[in-house]
């Protein structure tokens, strides 16, 4: 149980793919022009992460060390291609927006990283959980980044969410009417700026938590 908790904490916060490990920067920066795009890219990556985790873990006793990287690449590119075809067929509008980036999931280091560092050593169940949590952490990070850029850049939040999630989620779409928008944030430099400030904010939170922890420890020692 505690191991599962550890995996969940790792994926969502402590070892978050974007903010902790700083992996997968290409999709992170390229697809976060809006919260909806970030969400879509994150979900697609999550599917790939879970599938590759399970498959790698299932075959971990079969795969010989010498060819393991080649086999991982083979598995991942197959999964990504399947996701690509599926989205093209049944989520066509989103595929038109993200289409260029979906094949790039193959080169998202986070997937290879989890396969090598986690899935190849663990049982399928926990590997699936790890893939899911890493994927959700990645999705949340992309959504926050996309949300910040979209809000500052054009004064909307989750614009076109109904396109991704269906009409029932149209209530998510927010819009500030008299806001001109800072175009820079939607353009590529805005991705770097927003990511930098978000990472800085996270570091500040961590630093503050550390000081607090050391302070309370100090108190405990002093009290004893």
């Amino acid at each position: 149980m505690s191991e599962a908790r550890r995996v969940i904490r790792d994926g969502l916060w402590d070892n978050n793919v974007v903010f902790g490990q700083m992996l997968g920067m290409c999709p992170t920066l390229a697809t976060t022009g809006s919260a909806t795009n970030g969400l879509g890219m994150g979900l697609a990556t999550t599917v790939v992460l879970v599938c590759s985790g399970v498959l790698v873990s299932l075959f971990r006793n079969v795969i010989a060390r010498e060819v393991r990287i080649a086999i991982y690449v083979l598995l991942m590119s197959s999964i990504v291609t399947l996701v690509d075809m599926t989205m093209n067929a049944w989520m066509h509008e989103l595929h038109k927006v993200l289409g260029l980036f979906i094949p790039l999931i193959v080169v998202n280091c986070a997937i290879m990283g989890r396969a090598e560092a986690f899935a190849s050593k663990r049982t399928p169940g926990i590997a699936a959980l790890d893939g899911l949590m890493m994927g959700i952490g990645f999705t949340l990070a992309l959504m926050v980044l996309g949300g910040v850029r979209e809000a500052i850049g054009q004064g909307t939040l989750f614009a076109d969410a109904s396109m991704l999630l269906g009409e029932r989620f149209a209530f998510l779409e927010l819009r500030l009417d008299d806001y001109r928008g800072v175009l820079l944030m939607i353009l590529p430099p805005g991705g770097f700026l927003a990511l930098g400030f978000l990472v800085a904010a996270r570091q500040r939170m961590l630093a503050r938590a550390r000081t607090r922890a050391s302070l309370t420890n100090g108190d405990a020692v002093a009290g004893a």
Partner: protein
């Protein structure tokens, strides 16, 4: 900042202390900017003054806020005047009748993203004012290219002080009647290049353009002061303007109808402002004379390329930022020989005297 020696190569110790402190340098720069600032305010009226005040206020407030967040003493860099200089340079680069939020936002961006994020004065890789100018130009292309024709203070057409508040703070954009094209516009939209008397207007500054960049004479006066006081090395302006003029002359010779003459490139737009006040910012420029020549020539060539073939009408800000980024490389390429060493870093070869001693 400490290793910065204006007109000489860095040399080995011992050094003499130059008694030049940062606040003093900043005061001289402000003094040198005074002619251009005064001309700009006179030409474009009260709205221009509003904008200068707002831009400086934005920079100083952002500097104070950044220092407070970083828990550093406010006196640390707030008192040295560097934020004021950044604010003034930024204001002089903007359209004179810009709405109030443009200089405020630009000032804050210049200080926070351009300077404090890197660790404050002397640590910034890129020129803060130019970074803000590019950010504003990319984000608000409409406001950043809304030029007005000069309407000198106290002339009949000039807006009064109350009117100027409406222009700066009002939601209404400047009326079409006063909007105008800059001297560089024919480079992109086609049409006649300025020549003859129009070039004299460019020299005096009585043309549409950025607040403080229209008057070549005022900028030259300030630049002369900076070079005479040895605040800026002469190599950067010389190489920058020389390269720009040379390229313009070559292409103008090839096809005069298509490529603007060198004088238009030098006098129109931001080239002079850039050559004396922006590219010479010691923080982002190389430290050796030869490095500065390369740096200036690079900016001049890029300005010409962007103006002639690029997507934006003026390339000064982009050129400065790109060469700022290349500065460590330039410094590495032309680093001076260490005393007692070869250029490669190996010790000097020992030469045996023939007389056997």
């Amino acid at each position: 900042m400490t290793s910065w020696t204006p007109n000489r190569s860095p040399v080995a110790a011992p050094h003499v202390h130059g008694r030049t402190a940062i606040p003093q340098v900043m005061r001289t720069v402000l003094l040198a900017l005074l002619p251009a600032t005064a001309t700009g305010v006179w030409l474009f009226g009260w709205p221009a003054l509003n904008m200068i005040v707002l831009s400086i206020a934005g920079c100083v407030a952002a500097e104070a806020a950044a220092l407070a967040i970083g828990r550093r003493a406010l006196a640390h860099t707030l008192g040295d005047g560097s934020a004021v200089v950044t604010g003034l340079i930024l204001a002089l680069c903007l359209p004179p009748w810009a709405p109030w939020w443009l200089p405020l936002l630009g000032g804050a961006f210049a200080i926070v993203v351009g300077k404090q994020v890197f660790g404050g004065l002397g640590q910034n890789v890129l020129n803060p004012a130019m970074l803000a100018r590019v950010a504003l130009l990319v984000s608000f292309p409409l406001e950043m290219t809304a030029w007005v024709a000069p309407q000198p203070l106290f002339s009949a057409a000039a807006p009064g002080f109350l009117e100027s508040l409406a222009i700066t703070f009002g939601a209404v954009a400047a009326p079409d009647a006063v909007s105008a094209a800059t001297a560089l516009a024919p480079l992109k939209t086609g049409g006649e290049f300025a020549a003859g008397p129009a070039l004299i207007a460019l020299g005096l500054g009585t043309v549409p353009g950025s607040l403080g960049e229209t008057s070549a004479l005022a900028l030259l006066a300030g630049g002369a002061l900076l070079i005479a006081r040895r605040i800026v090395p002469w190599q950067i302006p010389a190489a920058l303007l020389g390269t720009l003029a040379l390229l313009a002359a070559i292409f103008n010779q090839i096809d005069p109808a298509h490529y603007a003459p060198p004088l238009l490139h030098l006098l129109g737009g931001s080239a002079l402002m850039c050559a004396f006040f922006i590219a010479t910012d010691p923080v982002g420029a190389p430290v050796t004379p030869s490095g500065r020549l390369i740096f200036g020539a690079g900016i001049g060539a890029l300005i010409y390329a962007i103006r002639t073939w690029g997507g934006y009408p003026e390339g000064v800000a982009f050129a400065v930022l790109l060469l700022n980024a290349a500065t460590p490389l330039i410094d590495h390429l032309v680093r001076p020989r260490r005393y007692g060493r070869l250029r490669s870093g190996a010790p000097l070869p020992v030469i045996r005297r023939e007389d056997g001693r």
